[in-house]
Amino acid sequence: MNFDFSDDQKQLRDQARKFLAEKCSPKAVRVVLDGKAPYDKELWKGLAEMGFLGVAIPEEFGGAGAGHLELCVIAEEMGRANAPVPFSSTVYLAAEALLIAGSDAQKKKWLPAIASGEAIGTLALFEGKGNPAPKNVKLTAANGVLNGVKKPVADGGIADFAVVAARTGSSGRENDISLFLVDLKAGGVEVNNLTNLDPTRGQAELTFKDCKAEPLGAAGEGWSILTQVLDRAAVLCAFEQVGGSDRALEMGRDYALDRIAFGRQIGSFQAVKHMLADMYVSATLARSNSYYGAWALSTNAAELPEAAAAARISATQAFQHCAKNNIQVHGGMGFTWEFDCHMYYRRANAMALGLGSLSYWEDQLIDRMRKKNAA
């Protein structure tokens, strides 16, 4: 049995970690956090040069053609560094949607641009409150023209193109939904930036008014494609969350060793030790569930839907738990703007909502486990 990443993949992880430690310090993250830039353009360029943006994109479309396991190890490092770039929206959502359902022409147009860092993409799914569900898609598509409002759209304020979920039928079922590809710079879309929990990754409202769009995938297949995209993104996001969990745990551990109170390192108090031990436990369970997700994703296994939901839940819980208790270990310092704890706390809680909430994924997991048991 070899349920682990290969030496080459681990080397890639080290390489990404080293690169991000240098190019994505907390100070660099703060430039975006403080609103001085919408994202870190230099870092984005650097990621493209390193080949990280196109690591899972086939060579014929300008990528490195390595695969999803390689993308997982990079995702972990993006989460560890809290990178202020549109990585998840472009690479996990837009690129994966293109890989699953794009025509040859669409892939040729957008995938090389993603790999080279020239195009930022996103997925426009949500319309206000509510979780992913066909009935929550109200934006309409008729004769290749979209009308409606999407919000929140991750990185919608800086994206060049969006994959948009639209209603093309009226039966109220899944096959009412189709996907469209929209060039956001071509007019017909009004973009409003929204303030949000995690300013290091922007959110926007996109208003489509008689906006021209081309279909992505077959008509009526939208929901089935979306489900696959969300499952893949759930695994990849889980690795970001695992990276974030580990970093938050490390920060808490280091502070517990440095800080003296009542004449001792606070890490010698059992209450603090046990809090950190529990953080380690949840981060470890999340890592193991995510590895299973990575295996299912990379082999396109029938277990992917279940594995993706488990990775999503476990990693969301772990990141929230570690980020929250990292602040607690830091005491009063922990909730100052000056210390970095809140950046991970923000990211953990924003990521918990990005692909649909925790309760949505809990529901999905049980459905999928039942289906497997019935099969």
Binding site: L257, R264, K273, T284, S288, Y291, A310, E362
Partner: protein
């Protein structure tokens, strides 16, 4: 990344599977499969006899104590082969429970510290299940603080005279031998005055009194020693070095990898899949689904953590203290799962035994679960291990560390 065996592993698995298929006591398979934490009983057979027979059969064919050297009754297998065996043995592995302490802890301690002649005499019948061993460490005053024990050993010519009391001794009532940690010098700090022995449990002066547990079962015992004589050649390690010897034992206790940890989740999921609540099937209730999902990811997290550890074994690496999380997570989870399964039964959940829903499976689990959180290191000790050995945090402050044992206070108040 894959779950595949290497060619050698696959060959070993096939051989093991074929032998188990041809030799295991199949008539008990269903009962063993359905037994949950807190209850492994065979309706029409004495489980001790069935277990001994299965162990003997394994030993005769060279399948006992896989990781032990051959000359002591083992097979000289690699750690990964031991894991594969456990996977293949499946529910029949339940029958090994009464040998766990002997095989996992006493045997390795004997191998490290006993004289060669003793190893050759005592280890093979331990491996084959003909003789059962127990471990006499815990005392009323020394549980998590093992080194706080008070059982005395005093030198008398070539013998030692033992007086004192042990407690929580699993299986002492059917054990033939035991390893015993004693205090030989109360005037030095507690870790420095301990010495380890092994002894015949039938020795004059040894009295075993079963303890009735909260569950009603009696798996544990109190053991009293009144002027018990142990010859000096049955000493394990040097006089005063008992603490180091016991660390060998305890490290072996916590390094069991790959055995499926019981979490209660498969049982709960199965139950919820068929249970009807007032408003419809339990599995369709939002609150039930949320609870199930939370436990599902803990159970799968443990499963794949263990797969990662097995992969490390497969590469020839030794798993570290991070594997303490299995018991820590599973222990409180099984308790919570049992509580919730009873909650779903409403007032009927109070009925236990054969009259209860599912023949009292969850009630038995509930009453046994607190023990899992204590035995082999409490939840608190497991958290300390993770904090200190994995995360590198400072050890607990020990105010009695440099105090002679006989000067350490014995009462909290007055």
């Amino acid at each position: 990344m894959n779950f595949d065996d290497t060619p050698q592993e696959a060959e070993f698995r096939a051989t093991a599977r074929a032998w188990i298929g041809a030799n295991a006591p199949k008539q008990y398979e269903e009962e063993l499969r359905k037994s949950s934490l807190g209850r492994t009983v065979l309706k029409n057979a004495n489980i001790l006899e069935v277990a001994k027979a299965w162990q003997k059969k394994k030993a005769d064919a060279g399948w006992a104590c896989l990781h032990w050297p051959k000359e002591y009754g083992g097979r000289g297998s690699s750690p990964i082969e031991r894991v594969i065996w456990q996977q293949e043995e499946g529910p029949f592995g339940q029958l090994s429970r009464m040998f766990i302490i002997g095989h996992g802890m006493c045997g390795p301690t004997m191998m490290a510290f006993a004289r060669e002649e003793h190893k050759r005499t005592y280890l093979p019948p331990l491996a084959s299940g003909e003789k059962v061993w127990c471990q006499l460490f815990s005392e009323p005053a020394g549980g998590s603080d093992v080194a706080g024990l008070r059982t005395r050993a005093e030198k008398d010519g070539d013998d030692w005279i033992i007086n004192g009391q042990k407690i929580w001794t699993s299986g002492a009532h059917y054990s033939d031998y035991g390893i015993l940690l004693t205090r030989t010098d109360p005037t030095v700090p507690k870790h420095k005055g301990l010495t380890m022995f092994f002894l015949d449990m039938k020795s004059p002066g040894v009295e075993v009194r079963p303890i009735k547990q909260a569950s009603g079962a009696s798996d544990f015992n109190e053991v009293y020693f009144t002027n018990v004589r142990i010859p000096d050649h049955q000493r394990l390690g040097e006089v005063g070095d008992g603490w180091n010897v016991s660390l060998t034992t305890l490290m072996n206790e916590r390094s069991a990898i790959g055995a499926a940890v019981s979490t209660g989740f498969p049982e709960l999921f199965e139950y919820c899949s068929s249970l009807m609540l007032d408003d419809g099937p339990a599995i369709e209730d939002r609150a039930v689904r949320s609870k199930l999902a939370n436990w599902a990811v803990k159970a799968s997290g443990l499963k794949y953590t263990s797969m990662r550890a097995i992969s490390a074994l497969s590469r020839g690496e030794r798993p570290g203290p991070e594997n303490s999380i299995g018991k820590l997570v599973a222990g409180s989870m099984i308790q919570d799962v049992a509580t919730y399964a009873l909650d779903l039964q409403g007032a009927a959940g109070v009925v236990s035994g054969e009259d209860a829903e599912l023949a009292g499976r969850f009630q038995a689990m509930l009453l046994r679960a607190p023990g899992t959180r204590v035995e082999g290191g409490t939840d608190e000790i497991m958290r300390n291990i993770i904090a200190e050995r994995v995360l590198g945090l400072p050890g607990d402050i020990r105010v009695d560390k440099d105090v002679p044992f006989n000067k350490i206070p014995t009462k909290g108040r007055g």
